[in-house]
């Protein structure tokens, strides 16, 4: 694990702590507006200052971690499960099943830019946390499916799998016992990058007004509220803190995913 990945892990740890213990860490009520305390700069009373309606930005950023992680974790679990199963079926059975899944389904899902597909789905389904999670899972599964399929194709013909088959092991047993453990590492890399992607997409959609509706303290919502000229002029900190929160979270998962991938890449071992 390289140094950046370690930094990433530390940030992720802080993020998880913030999300789990938000009610204890937050210093103010996330929804409480106070028009006499608008646009206050960071101080000991308000660590990150206050926004256009006098809400405490620090508390909102802390609670925002809950939304981001909840979306990220749920999306990764759903899309990894679906993707792994579909990828395993395609790779293991081959033939027309594979031609349908890899030749057609993969191409269709990769034909849309992910964000556009999510926007389109939310546009038709309506905004909201659950619909957002559904939309992001629908665009997310393909990544895992491709990784899993590639791994299955690689491992399927190896001797120990052949041996298991000769001994009469069932397909499911072989997939679970022999193929999945071999594919787990690239899947974890994918999941780490998937977390980064999901957090980014949640913030993007909320920013566009298509994700978690305000006044929920989603980082995307906070950024959308902070970007009008009046707020920028008087309170740039309203933009900077939630912005840093999104960027750091995405960066942390990217660092970890990248570090893991580097470790798994056999070519890197040889020349270093």
């Amino acid at each position: 694990m390289n140094r950046l990945a370690k930094v990433g892990l530390i940030i992720i740890f802080a993020l998880v702590i913030a999300a789990l213990f938000a009610p204890w860490i937050a210093t103010h009520d996330v929804g409480a507006t106070d028009l006499s305390a608008r646009y206050l700069p960071p101080s000991s009373a308000h660590y990150f200052g206050t926004d256009a309606t006098g809400r405490d930005i620090f508390s909102r950023v802390i609670y925002g971690a809950r939304i981001s992680l909840r979306v990220g974790v749920t999306v990764v679990i759903i899309s990894a499960t679906v993707g792994t199963i579909v990828g395993a079926i395609a790779g293991y059975y081959g033939g027309w099943v594979d031609r349908f899944i890899a030749g057609y389904l993969f191409n269709v899902f990769l034909a849309f830019p992910g964000l556009l597909l999510a926007i389109a789905m939310v546009a038709f389904l309506g905004a909201g946390l659950n619909k957002l999670i559904l939309a992001l899972s629908i665009i997310g599964w393909v990544g895992y499916a491709r990784v899993m399929r590639a791994q299955v194709l690689k491992v399927r013909e190896l001797e120990f799998v052949q041996a298991a088959r000769a001994l009469g092991a069932s397909d499911l047993y072989i997939l679970w016992r022999h193929i999945l453990p071999n594919a787990i590492q690239p899947l974890i890399v994918q999941a780490s990058l998937g977390m980064a992607g999901a957090i980014l997409s949640e913030a993007s959609l909320s920013f566009l007004g298509l994700g978690v509706p305000p006044p929920a303290p989603s980082w995307g919502v906070m950024l959308e509220e902070a970007r009008d000229l009046a707020t920028l002029q008087t309170a740039p900190h309203a933009l900077i803190f939630p912005g840093a929160a999104v960027a750091l979270s995405v960066l942390a998962f990217n660092f970890v995913g990248d570090g893991l991938r580097e470790r798994l890449d056999p070519r890197r071992h040889v020349d270093r």
Partner: protein
């Protein structure tokens, strides 16, 4: 012969994908909870108005060839024939007609054509920004592999990838419009107005491309022809720019094509930040926010088709550039 066969296969997949995308976009409108007529006209609308609206926009006809209807006896399949919205939308599309806006009654194709050039302008400008940043940085990092400058550039690239446009965009507005007062915060009136949006959209891509160029340069530097070029006494500079870059940019071209689509999707956010009157702003402000589903349909369709064809074109270009791939 094999070349032709793989081309045909690709063309078939392309057609299948286009058919699926159009069908999905056409049928997605059926997912809308509630009746679009009420969404547009409001709950106070008179029944005649609703009926009139549904007739004008073809909503009085069935959505597809058949539908599943549930009654006391359970699910029943009802056949509607070819007089349905799906067929109508397709035949309209083939004539360049995407229906009329639910709100303004103007042809959607006209609305999109009006906005499309601004988006393409932004995407191309962003692409140029990205290339201008990433090629020199990638070459520097790749040719000085493992040095501090390489490590620094790699970290900067990762940070650049992680910085969302809705953070960099408002930050740029803050610095250049609010603080320095050099540029307008939004709109598309002056030629300078494209600077901030294209920087916003271009930097994220630049970060990604820098990594691509870097690894491509590293790969090419290990090739035999580089040793030959060095052995015949070429300067390191000539080796890098005359030989390595020429070959090393081939995989980068593919990524560029793929990224053009990402740029178009990313442009939605950038256009919203800078009030840039492109197709993304049309989609969000006129389409989604005003629940004008015909406009949403048209925009989603045009953006996805642009993406699909940009990818197909890149694929062809890639094959032309690199003869090794042709036979695959």
């Amino acid at each position: 012969m094999r070349h032709l066969k793989s081309l045909t296969r690709r063309a078939i997949i392309l057609l299948l994908v286009v058919w699926t995308v159009v069908s999905a976009v056409t049928l997605l409108i059926e997912l809308v909870p509630g009746d679009p007529a009420y969404a547009i006209l409001g709950d106070q609308a008179r029944p005649e108005q609703i009926a009139q609206f549904r007739r004008t926009h073809g909503l009085d006809r069935p959505a597809f060839f058949f539908s599943l209807i549930r009654n006391e006896e359970g699910w029943r399949l009802v056949w509607h024939g070819a007089n349905n919205r799906y067929v109508e939308y397709w035949s309209g599309l083939l004539h360049g007609d995407m229906g009329r806006s639910f709100r303004t009654d103007r042809p959607v194709s006209e609305l999109i054509l009006q906005r499309y050039p601004a988006t393409i302008e932004l995407a191309i400008a962003a692409l140029l920004v990205a290339i201008a940043i990433s090629v020199p940085l990638g070459v520097i990092a790749g040719s000085r592999r493992g040095t501090w400058i390489d490590n620094l550039l790699s970290v900067i690239a990762l940070i650049g990838i992680s910085l969302p446009s809705f953070v960099t965009g408002p930050l740029l507005i803050y610095i250049f419009a609010v603080r320095l007062g050099l540029l307008a915060p939004s709109g598309r009136f002056d030629w300078t107005d494209i600077i901030l949006p294209s920087l916003t959209l271009g930097t994220a891509l630049a970060a990604f491309l820098t990594r691509m160029v870097r690894s491509s340069v590293i790969e090419e530097l290990n090739q035999d022809y580089v040793r030959t070029a060095r052995a015949k006494g070429l300067s390191e500079r000539a080796v890098l720019y005359k030989h390595v870059l020429k070959n090393g940019l081939i995989p980068v071209v593919t990524v560029l094509g793929l990224q053009l689509g990402v740029l178009l999707a990313g442009a939605i956010i950038t256009e919203k930040i800078f009030n840039w009157p492109g197709i993304g702003l049309l989609l969000v402000e006129e389409g989604i926010n005003k629940r004008d589903y015909r406009v949403v349909q048209g925009c989603v369709l045009v953006i996805s088709l642009t993406y699909i064809f940009a990818n197909a074109a890149t694929d062809m270009l890639y094959r032309l550039l690199d003869p090794r791939i042709r036979s695959r």
